[in-house]
């Protein structure tokens, strides 16, 4: 029992962050340079712009069992390609509706806007979604072979 509790405490949510090259990715890079600490469960996917993120990319990540997805785009009005981040926002909202409809929950998906200099804010957003997803628990879509290591027995 104690060992189980220990495993549950040790569980780190697997989060995919789709980061725009011009802001989120640069902010993450800056956070790394400044040795800021954030969850080790974050995996960054480098995108040329959040406008390139198709809804299928996010859905595919969830189907493969990731616990949460963070979309990191430029500040509104600051997109390198004019309105890629605005399109990403609409697509993210549509996927949120789908996640709610199927019962997975839209809380596992979030889009945030940062600039390339906003490393502390990037880290804060990461920790917020990690905190949210930790409270929700592992994704019920996680492949069964990974569930034990994810804290489910």
């Amino acid at each position: 029992m104690m060992q189980l509790e220990k495993e549950q405490t040790a569980w780190t949510p697997e989060i995919i962050a789709f980061c725009c090259n011009y802001c989120g990715f640069a902010a993450a890079d800056l956070a790394g340079i400044q040795r800021m600490q954030y969850s080790a469960g974050l995996r960054i996917v480098h995108m040329p712009c959040t406008g390139k993120i198709e809804m299928e990319y996010i859905l595919d990540a969830f189907e493969r069992g990731v616990d949460g997805v963070l979309v990191v785009g430029c500040l509104e009005g600051g997109c390198h390609f004019m309105e890629g981040n605005l399109r990403a926002r609409k697509r993210t909202e549509r996927v949120c509706l789908i996640l709610d409809e199927i019962g997975l929950g839209s809380e596992r998906l979030k889009m945030v806007n940062v600039s390339d200099a906003m490393a502390p804010e990037f880290v804060q957003h990461v920790q917020e979604i990690v905190s949210t997803v930790t409270a929700l628990g592992p994704s019920p879509l996680k492949p069964s072979e990974n569930k034990e290591s994810a804290g489910e027995s």
Binding site: D60, F62, E63, I98, E101, G103, L104, P140, L141
Partner: protein, 223 residues
């Protein structure tokens, strides 16, 4: 083009609840353009359905194929292989596409994945409006190219009802008054005299109200 909108995942899940292996078929023509049933939308619906069923502990296997046109046998025949491996088909085509596939595969259940809406045009990105009722007896020449049969809520053929407010329809203020559009259009093309002609009651025998219609063009028939 034919404009359609997707059914909700909840409704679709209920429709195919009894099946574990299903073919989702997209259509590459009208419903692709109206962002309802093309390859991308079929992909999104597939992801959502697989996840929804997995969460219900009733996993489903979904195959996806998008053909050029679901309303032609020439293209539907490409589905023969994938269709042989599934329990049911969900067509993301218009109502015609669904029925054409069902006729081609009499032993397989075929369900509609979309709600077919109307014949319309793209007004701006992601907004479509109805323009044609398919009444079978086009009167557009008389009305400057604007159809009162489709676009007037009361289908008036001899002038406006008098209820429009600031050029908007009294039935729905989101719509322009068709008769205001007709007047402006006839004025701009110098054909206002057409309004002096009294239009007799429309012959509805060419419309759907007499049952499903058929068009035969003998000059193009090969048999």
């Amino acid at each position: 083009m034919i404009v359609a909108s997707p059914k909700s995942i909840t409704e679709l899940k209920k429709i195919i609840a009894d099946h574990k292996k299903v073919l989702f078929v997209g259509c590459g023509t009208c419903v692709t353009v109206c962002l309802a049933g093309g390859e991308r939308e079929v992909g999104i619906a597939s992801y959502a359905m697989r996840m929804a069923r997995k969460l219900d502990r009733s996993p489903i296997e979904i195959r996806q194929v998008t053909i050029e046109r679901q309303c032609e046998n020439e293209f539907i025949k490409d589905l023969a292989g994938p269709a042989a491996e599934v329990e049911a088909i969900v067509s993301f085509g218009c109502g015609a596409g669904v029925q054409a596939i069902a006729e081609r595969f009499p032993a397989i259940p075929v369900y509609a994945g979309l709600n077919t809406q109307f014949l319309g045009v793209l007004e701006e990105q992601a907004i479509w409006t109805e323009k044609c009722l398919g009444c079978g007896d086009c009167m557009l020449a008389q009305f400057g190219g604007i159809c009162p049969v489709t676009r007037c809520a009361k289908r008036l053929l001899n002038g406006p009802c008098g209820g429009s407010l600031e050029s908007r329809c009294e039935v729905d203020s989101d719509r322009p008054c068709a008769w205001q559009l007709i007047y402006s259009r006839l004025k701009s093309i110098g054909q206002l005299d057409r309004l002096e002609e009294i239009i007799p009651p429309k012959d509805w025998s060419h419309a759907w109200y007499c049952g499903a219609r058929k068009v035969v063009r003998k000059e193009h028939q090969v048999k």
